[in-house]
Symmetry: C2
Subunit: 388 residues, 2 copies
């Protein structure tokens, strides 16, 4: 087959095998609690679904391509959202609507990464980041992050790890898999450190709005020269619709748009019309009610998991993940995750899916299911751990 080297060096998610096994067990009639997938169990918000339906009716079933950069009305609505919610002015010209946040990241990395360039990326972190860097012939410069730093990079990391070929820094706040957040002051300091080195800053804000211990914020408030990645999947509850956006620094958008013409043509049209309603102030109370529900889930599950003996050593302030340390029980959480599935019928994700830095003792749990099930899951996990 003679696969390209980029493919040989990209790993599949380990959790996929586990998911397949979970489905097999489920098919045999077992009651599996799914805490492995990054997708809440909420339906599409009703106003969003209604907006899609209205689009079909009002356009007589015509579902044409949109401009590559997105519906002008949606780009403006996103700009309005930044102004209204965060008090930040962004020109709609700098906003590109994309096929999920994945496409936003792809466009930015393709446009900015010269072959051989390095990107500073936190480890653990969202695995696609390093795989996309590799796809465009770049290199990952890992930043080992620990609980002591809230699993987020610091200026000291940038100073120590920046190399001659480093192109920039990638941040995620709230982070996957840890749920930790950066303050605006921290982002400002990191942005300055990157700027001083002539580098680029990419900030993944796809969990923006799912904040539990403080207000949501945007890096644009302190780093107007950063690339911002965002999504309608998480806070806005639109995973399967595949819609996200990016905000590009001044001057970059036309280049990203040119590439998007060839890579995507445009983002899905029904999703774009639906998303107009997602950004409306009328939808906000519903989204906030969901956020509060996730907050209650977090509190219930964190407490229950603590009783099981797993260690939660950094406050999970956002997203819907707990990144627990199972060091008292094992240094092979890939095996532990398999055991938890077989013996407790609870599916979770082994740490190694998120990087190489002390990930072998870690498990990620997505608290994206209801409180009773979370309680039940923690009890089942405790029974397995106590029997070891």
């Amino acid at each position: 087959m003679n696969l390209a080297p980029r493919i040989q060096e990209i790993h599949p998610f380990r959790v996929m095998e586990l998911l397949a096994r979970a489905r097999a067990l489920q098919a045999q009639g077992h009651d599996i609690i799914h805490l492995e997938v990054g997708e809440p169990d909420f339906p599409t918000p009703a106003p969003v679904l209604e907006a899609a339906q209205r689009f079909f009716v009002e356009h007589g079933g015509h579902v044409p391509y949109t401009p590559t950069a997105g519906l002008p009305a949606l780009r403006e609505a996103i700009a309005d959202y930044y102004a209204r919610r965060f008090g930040v002015t962004v020109s709609p010209e700098r906003i590109l609507v994309t096929t999920g946040a994945s496409a936003a990241l792809t466009l930015i990395l393709a446009a900015a990464t010269h072959p051989g360039d390095g990107w500073l990326i936190p480890d653990p972190g969202y695995p696609c980041n390093r795989h996309l860097v590799r796809t465009f012939e770049g290199q990952t410069h890992s930043i080992p992050v620990d609980a002591a730093d809230n699993f987020q990079p610091t200026v000291a990391h940038v100073e120590q790890l920046w190399r001659a070929n480093t192109r920039g820094l990638m941040l995620a706040t709230p982070s996957n898999p840890t749920g930790t957040v950066l303050t605006l002051a921290q982002i400002a300091a990191l942005a300055e450190a990157v700027r001083a080195r002539g580098g680029l800053l990419i900030v993944d804000e796809i969990y923006q709005g799912l904040n539990y211990d403080g207000e949501a914020c945007t890096a644009l408030s302190v780093a107007p020269d950063a690339f911002i990645i965002n999504s309608f999947s998480k806070y806005f509850g639109m995973t399967g619709w595949r819609l996200g956006w990016l905000v590009a620094p001044e001057g970059w958008a036309p280049h990203l748009e040119k590439l998007a013409q060839h890579l995507y043509i445009c983002a899905p049209t029904p999703a774009q019309y639906a998303a107009l309603a997602a950004l409306s102030e009328d939808t906000r109370p519903l989204l906030e009610a969901r956020r509060e529900q996730l907050l209650r889930r977090r509190n219930v599950f964190a407490k229950a998991l603590f009783s099981s003996g797993l260690i939660l050593d950094a406050p999970p302030q956002g997203a819907f993940y707990l990144y627990a340390d199972a060091a008292p029980f094992t240094d092979d959480t890939q095996q532990l995750a398999a055991d938890l599935l077989e013996q407790a019928h609870v599916a979770c994700t082994p740490g190694i899916d998120f990087g190489e830095h002390r990930t072998q003792t870690r498990l990620r749990f997505a608290y994206a299911t209801d409180e009773a099930r979370l309680q039940e899951a923690a009890e089942r996990i405790a029974r397995v751990l106590q029997s070891r």
Copy 2:
């Protein structure tokens, strides 16, 4: 900004400027006839739209991610379609559902192209092909195709142009921008020539079904080892839904799926449920009625355009494009296209958007609007040409 070289070498579609000017003229109240965009004026087929609506209702508004390779039922339905319509057996395991044909092409080129590899690509051809090759650090080896060869590559081309670093051959049938098709015998011979050189064959069949002078076919009938790219956009009338698929040779699908996990997560979920109805036999008569309507448009427009003095030197047997030669009038069709827009209020695409081989005298017209408008467009064009 220090853009990556790959971006600097990718050209935007020239027609985009023309389209912007067309919209400006339209906003001033001028009656513009659009023959530049590759998108018929049909709405989504009613059964397809109904299937999407049914999905929303039956799933209580839940629109989750699907498996990365696509809904199992849709992969099976595509396999059934190959069996029923073309008498070809394809395992659903070899089929990946993708976010438009663009994503299918991206996955294949990313997985198969080592940096520096060359791909034989017909010139003129779909411009994204060479830009995607460049995106993954490959090179385009252009095959200059002319009317004498029906604007399609021949075995002689492969023999003459194959180099040490050539990775494979890309074909498109029916072709964009020429609408010409390859016979199964021609495809078989080309496949054998590529196979003999240890290369890969990619066949773009996104206009499959929009055939006017013979039955639709698939390269899989004669080249089961080819990569096939297809789409729900054209024959199935689902452009803005962004859905396509690929068929991978034995052994490749798991590697493509791994990359798709990181690049896309999955194709849009509503589109996948809608597409189940697109493939149904019940929908076929409606799609065939549309095909017949396009055939009538082709015949009307080809005749009318012939009267204007433009030359049609290869039979446009499929898709919905006429690739006309304006050599009697100009060797600068970028200027002529601009003049036709200003003076005739007809928008079409200059040949240079499709390559460099004798494209400066060419214009592409999409006959994707109704017969009366096509007749009117041809008359307006004739008046401008006759006044030169």
